[in-house]
Amino acid sequence: MAPTPPRLLPALSLLLGAALWSAGCQRDPAAALAADAGAALYRAKCADCHGAKGEGVEGKYGSPLTGDWSLARLTRYTALNMPDDAPETLSPAEAQAVSAYIFDAFYSPAAQARLNPPRRELQHLTNTQYAISVADLLAGLAPPAAPPEASAPAAGGLAAVYFGSAQRGRFDAAKAAHRGVDPGVDFEFNPGSPALARAGAAEFSVQWRGSLLAEETGDHEFTVRTPNTVRFWINAEPGVPADASLDVNVSNPTRPDHRVTVRLLAGRRYPIAIDYWALPEKPGAPPPAIALRWKPPHGTERPVPARLLSPAPARPTLVVATRFPPDDGSHGYERGLSVSAAWDEATTRAAFEVAAHVGRRVDRLDGTRAGDAGRAGRIEAFAARFLAGAFRRPLTAEEREAQVAAVFRAAPDPETGLRRVVLFALKSPRFLYPDLPSPEAPGSRVAARLALSLWDSVPDAALAAAAAGGGLVTPEQVAAQATRMLGDPRARAKLRGFFEHWLQLRFVESLPPDPAHFPGFTPELAEDLRTSLRLFLDDIAWDGSGDFRELLRAGHVFANARVAGYYGWPAPSGDGFARVATSPGERSGVLTHPYLLAALSHPRSTSPILRGVFLTRGIVGRSLRSPQVAVAFNDAEFAPGMSMREKVEKLTRTENCQGCHAVINPLGFSLEWYDATGRFRREDEGRPVDAASDYFADDGQAVRLGGARDVAEFALAHAPSLEAFIEQLFHHLVKQPAIAHGPGVLAGLRDSWIASGHDLRQLMVRIATLAALHGLEPPPPAAP
């Protein structure tokens, strides 16, 4: 962001200034001076200190004259404080003229964008894009999976087969006693229990098979608790002993907890399987038992929820375990801009990891067997497909010869050749920098951009075919592909990543509110709230209308019994989550979702400041700089009985603070209807909640805010707020500055978005299409 204008803020509070000058801010035709009078004034009175183009003058005022104040605010400030050696000598009309000149010539972000247009920069894959690209690259090389059986239930547990005998390492099909779907694996096979009755014998074994949907990216810790013999697979080929994630052949009642941690990518299904044998133990040993539990990222250890389990099989996905250094976040969103030694080393280690993985499994991946005639040729063909996948386009004949055929000839065996090709492919700049020119295959660059913006991944077969066949040239063609791609689960995962970014959920490890002060606000409830928010967002974005307005306005929530009980909502039927209506006017979409409110709180009280900052940046879309002075909030410093609002007003009353807090506070106070855990309340410290305040928009427009709904309605009607949201989404999808795609790009997207009914999915398609074709449009046909 541009540096702060002079630190000497006006002596009078800005609110007072606004009152004094609001009349003067209106352009008064009668007193207006000619347009170039502003330029002349600037040259005469300002250029000496600020430079002819506002670039600053060493020794006088060195910083460039740029920033993000509104014209109104700039004018007020100029009138009160400038020129520095003779303040208040400008007439209102003069102040207006010179400020307008400064604003349009170089001060405003728009002016800066005009003078130094940001451009699309060459950058490498972000860490997320790397992991997903590698996973999908490999998945795309496997033979196509068999389509799922039509009759198989979609979700709700694992397929279970109980056998009335136990032979270590084997199952006797003739002894299968019971088949069904178990919602979870948590059984004690006590004498007389229904679980034991299903097996029908004292020595028995069970097979559970199915898949698990991961909702978050990160390390997932699985625990299989049993005093008996068990094998467990997660994201590995079920039934293959060598691939087992846990292999407990010898039972150990003294240490029944067996743990394994695996890294999973959000939005995908992974195979999960258990082979369990209740073999005879020492007399007096406890009865057989088994429980499957997990601890996902940001979660607590608990049974795997049935809604995430399905009897349908899934294929293992390679999720690289190599840790990469954090992406460059200096622009406010993740970008692959920094090329550091640590990043380079990580790409090397990851390349080795993938080469080893592929090398171990080449026969399985390609369907060959050791000793097959022609195996070497098939492995070489596999390597060529891998390289083409990494390059995101077909290989040229030259590349096929030099980077594959020659490598295989020089290698002592085909496995070594494969390893070397994989290493080359994943260390190649063509893989790591996905937006390089590729004259060899026009269309492939559009495909690569599309796949990254909607999936963070590599093109699939359909997209690659369209690119190769000339079907990715016109905006209509590209938009059609983008629309198709939205139906893929990877698009959901990408949008979920955006929501985490937009709502600042990424860094929330545990919610601040103190369970001792708020009984019932347990870590389990916190985890439920996270699920509730996720279901809410997914429901509106994908299953429902896709209407952004609902995100900010909706009065319904997704709750299970625990959540409904804590927040006083009607309880849903059954164990899981369901859509629940709240009292009219109580809630307004994400603005009032308890997870968010609780994340933006202190352990024992609300934080209007944290909430206000979120609303300012995320909903209203104004930029805020970091505070000039860091002030910690210390409850003990305030007189008892003060409401939170009163404390915040007192703490931020100085002019220094009010520079930003004049904006932050009214927004934050509007959420004072909700306590630190997001529960609706009418009183704070025994006094009625006072959430009403006046908010002044950029253009001086005054808005009365009584609660969250007012904030939502304001943002939805305010063009700059909508554009700010679009810009954030653009950045997340494309990872390039929006303005680099043309000065009017945000306004254009906003107009079509409003015309489409604020359709989020449409917006994604438009952004992806626009970015994919930028700079690559075919030249217009020659004039006749």
């Binding site: 060459l122 010898v250 009642p253 073999l279 133990e281 980077q403 070397r420």
Partner: protein
């Protein structure tokens, strides 16, 4: 031995220290001598008991004659110590073979579990304590002067791919078996895999840089800066991989099968000696198959290279009166002794890096077995033979004890390495203290 076995392509560890390459990530050799002389421990295991009449020397003391089974060790007679009269007194759950194997180095009872042994034995689980090799490993790792990259390495020859108390003798703790690696290529990958990867990387760096140069010409001048930074890093990578010497080479294509056991044995011993020279570890175990002679091949292993087609375990159950079977067992055990001799020869032929004498002077080899005699399943008179030096024992003798618990020998080993613990394994068996072997 046939020439093909001698012609193992591993870098011979007998080279003077100055010629050995600086190997990436490992301490370089030829530096200042360590403050205290190095001590190493190797525990070699062969199964199914021995033939006592052809094993134990008749006389005790320094003036003893080697019988047939120990005859291969004759050249090392002066650093040999035979220990008769040591018993595995651990009882509790599990059958004789399980207890023989999993209590051999741990000296304590097995945990509860569902592994059903022979006869009417109560099912049992893993060993209930740490094994002596891991105990000494932890002790050496706890001090910077004796710490090594791996601490301990567990080698196997023909160990079956099953994890149960019959196939494991090393334990990091109660219920925590340490699996031996029977495949020399897998062991090589563990030791030198990183180096081999870097060799692969070296082969792709040139094409990468060429491609990068091509790509750089295609992009705008502003974007070129990013690719130049990338190129700088690739050049750095090239320097890093160039400085290092390549890894030692292993004879290729020796499959992990029964008939290759003699070659695999030599490859594993060569790898082990190489690890010792590079100080990658100071504790190692070498496990020949497992109790009950389970091997990877279907059915029991056969020592075909000795022209014996009967399974070792089956033979070991033949009565004493079966002279043919006894003769075969003697030859089998003599072959094991020959493998121990090969290990001792290699160590004796290598000067101790940075120290005096040979590596054998600083390495204590312990050759043992899970049973005293196969057909009686006795846990008395476990064949214990010590070879080498460095532990402060007075070698070159045949000793006889009176049914002492083997815990006391394990304790003596610990003390020999400076680890003066009061008990090891079941404390009841340690009341008389470590065996006096010095």
């Amino acid at each position: 031995m046939t020439p093909i076995l001698r012609r193992s392509f591993l870098r011979r560890a007998g080279l003077p220290a100055a010629l050995l390459p600086l190997i990436h990530g490992l301490p370089s050799l030829g530096l200042a001598a360590p403050a205290r002389p190095r001590q190493r421990l190797v525990i070699v295991f062969s199964p199914n008991g021995t033939i006592p009449t052809e094993f134990w020397p008749d006389r005790t003391g320094t003036d003893f004659a080697l019988k047939r089974i120990l005859e291969p060790l004759a050249p090392h007679r002066d650093c040999l110590l035979t220990l008769r009269g040591i018993s595995n007194r651990v009882r509790g759950d599990g059958d004789g073979h399980m207890r023989g194997m999993s209590c051999l180095l741990t000296g304590t009872e097995l945990l509860p579990g569902n592994i059903q042994g022979g006869g009417k034995s109560i099912p049992a689980g893993w060993a209930g304590g740490i094994s002596i090799d891991q105990e000494i490993r932890n002790f050496l790792q706890s001090s910077p002067e004796t710490r090594t990259r791996f601490g301990s390495l567990e080698f196997g020859v023909g160990v079956q791919d099953r994890a149960d108390p019959w196939t494991r003798m090393s334990y990091a703790g109660p219920g925590q078996p340490v699996a031996p690696t029977s495949d020399p290529y897998q062991m090589f990958e563990k030791l030198y895999g990183g180096m081999r990867d870097r060799a692969h990387l070296r082969s792709v760096l040139d094409p990468l840089q060429a491609d990068l140069a091509k790509v750089r010409r295609m992009v705008s001048p502003e974007d070129r800066r990013v690719l130049e930074e990338h190129e700088t890093l690739l050049r750095r990578l090239e320097r890093e991989t160039a400085d290092r010497a390549g890894p030692p080479t292993l004879e290729a294509g020796v499959a992990d099968q029964n008939d290759n056991v003699p070659r695999l044995s030599r490859m594993q011993v060569d790898l082990m000696v190489n690890c010792f020279v590079n100080d990658m570890t100071r504790v190692a175990t070498l496990q020949y198959t497992a109790t009950l002679q389970y091997t990877k091949s279907v059915g029991s292993a056969r020592m075909n290279w000795l022209s014996i087609s009967d399974g070792h375990h089956a033979l070991s159950h033949e009565p004493d009166s079966d002279a043919a079977a006894q003769e075969k067992l003697i030859r089998i055990n003599t072959w094991f002794a020959g493998e121990v001799r090969y290990l001792a020869d290699r160590l004796a032929a290598t000067p101790e890096p940075g120290g005096d004498g040979s590596m054998l002077d600083h390495t204590l080899i312990v050759w043992t077995n899970e049973l005293g005699k196969g057909n009686s399943h006795t846990l008395d008179n476990i064949p214990f033979v010590l070879l080498g030096g460095g532990a402060g024992f007075r070698m070159g003798r045949a000793l006889e004890f009176d049914k002492v618990p083997h815990n006391r020998l394990l304790l003596a080993l610990a003390h020999g390495f400076g680890h003066r613990i009061p008990t090891f394994g079941k404390a009841d068996f340690c009341s008389a203290g470590p065996l006096a072997l010095g």
